[in-house]
């Protein structure tokens, strides 16, 4: 069977590799990242599958919540046997969305403003904004 990747898919792969500085093909799909991820149970799709979708240029990857749920705790990056910095790839995917002005958080929404009134540490608010708003 011949497997073809769409032009947009190729472009996505290239962009993610450029932004993250990682070689996406180093991943051999062992699944260690997914096994070790502390927030995997809140994700639509496990991290190793996300990497696979980027490898084959499947644009579906951008519709998953995985990279927004990622807390950038670096556990996957620390434990990957192929030294793929998965946290950087997640940042790459977040940036593909953000650079197309598709923010994850609406900082003007009532829901978000209410959070500011709660006693949540500023560090959490700033990191959420930095990860989810262009």
């Amino acid at each position: 069977m011949v497997f073809t990747v769409s032009e947009k898919g190729l472009e996505l792969r290239k962009t993610v590799e450029e932004i993250s500085g990682e070689n996406i093909f180093k991943c051999y799909q062992c699944g260690k990242c997914s096994a070790t991820c502390p927030v995997v149970d809140s994700m639509d799709m496990a991290p190793n599958k996300i990497i696979r979708l980027v490898q084959i240029g499947d644009l579906d990857v951008l519709e998953q919540n995985t990279f927004w749920v990622c807390a950038a705790c670096f556990t996957c990056s620390a434990r990957c046997p192929r030294s793929v910095d998965i946290a950087k790839i997640m940042e790459g995917l977040r940036n593909v969305k953000l650079r197309n002005r598709q923010d994850f958080i609406n900082i003007y929404s009532k829901e978000f403003i209410e959070k500011l009134i709660e006693e949540i540490p500023q560090m959490a608010i700033v990191s959420a904004i930095k990860k989810g708003v262009w």
Binding site: E18, G21, P38, V39, W68, A72, E91, K115, P121, A124
Partner: protein, 295 residues
């Protein structure tokens, strides 16, 4: 000889993490040195930007490094101490990025032409490193006024002090520094395999359930191991573990709450000459110590 250190607090240490700062400044004095706050400072950036092509996100951390450079000249040191795990992580990663890429350092200096040039030689330290490497558990043991005899303590590190590997100051998978310091205070240290697991971090804003499941795993094991108190150096871990437990208790996922306090708070109780004042805020510690003959 122990010297004074330039100290960068960061936003959270002035608000929800105030207890940590108050206690740490006092602990430093009790151990014979001072943390001198930078006269002016800005946000550190909180999370290190992981992209390869964005420089603007590193500017706030760079400004902090320049402030440290200025103060370092007065105090004759190139060190900068942080109390917050995330400040430590981002400052150290940005600093390292400049060390590994002199071109980027040159660029940023050209860009920030209202500031003096950053020379790239500031050394970022976390307060724990100062306590462990510069003071040492032995010296701390000598200064203990109230041994925390019988208090079962679970040291919880979280992510930001140990990952990525390039910035870790302790063993990434089996860290021992906090445990050694707590043993020096006379406490019994519990080994929790979840000690380097993530607490869910900023997901508390957008995905509280993710945080709750992290907290549940960490706390359930800690409680099974019989800990009286969880000790952490990070203000966000402290917040997530505390509010997370409240929510879990309401849902009936756990049957009691384990107090989560800063390492500095526990150290102050143990090192202070007259700790009655402090102990009254921590009745659970007082009870345990009395119960097990520590007081």
């Amino acid at each position: 000889m122990v010297m004074d250190y330039p100290y960068y607090p960061g936003c959270t240490l002035k608000t929800t993490g105030k207890k940590d700062e108050e206690a740490a400044l006092e602990v430093a004095k009790l151990l014979g040195f001072e943390l001198k706050e930078l006269p002016t400072w800005t946000c550190c950036g909180v999370v290190y930007n992981l992209t390869s092509d964005v420089m603007a996100d590193h500017l706030s951390a760079t400004r902090t490094l320049i402030r440290a450079q200025e103060m370092g000249r007065e105090l004759n040191t190139n060190k900068l101490v942080t109390l917050c795990s995330m400040c430590y992580n981002v400052l150290k990663q940005v600093n390292l990025m400049y060390k590994n890429n002199p071109d980027k350092l040159k660029n940023v200096n050209l860009f920030m032409d209202t500031e003096e040039d950053y020379l790239g030689n500031i050394e970022i330290l976390h307060f724990l490193e100062v306590l462990y490497n510069d003071i040492g558990p032995e010296k701390i043991r000598e200064k203990v006024k109230t041994p925390l005899k019988g208090l079962k303590v679970d040291p919880y590190y979280g992510c930001m002090l140990l990952r990525p590997k390039t910035i870790a100051f302790d063993n990434q998978d089996a860290p021992h520094i906090m445990g050694d310091l707590l043993s020096a205070l006379g406490a019994t240290v519990i080994e929790n395999p979840m000690t380097v697991e993530c607490c869910g971090a900023h997901q508390i804003i957008t995905n509280k359930n993710a945080v709750l499941s992290c907290v549940e795993r960490i706390v359930t094991i800690s409680q099974k191991k019989g800990s009286d108190v969880i000790v952490t150096p990070c203000p966000l871990c402290q917040y997530n573990l505390t509010t997370g437990q409240k929510a879990l208790l309401e849902k009936g996922k756990i049957n009691h709450m384990t107090p989560v306090i800063y390492l500095s708070e526990l150290m102050r109780i143990s090192l202070a000459e007259n700790n009655e004042n402090y102990l009254k805020d921590y009745s659970f510690i007082k009870d345990k110590l009395q119960e097990r003959g520590g007081l």
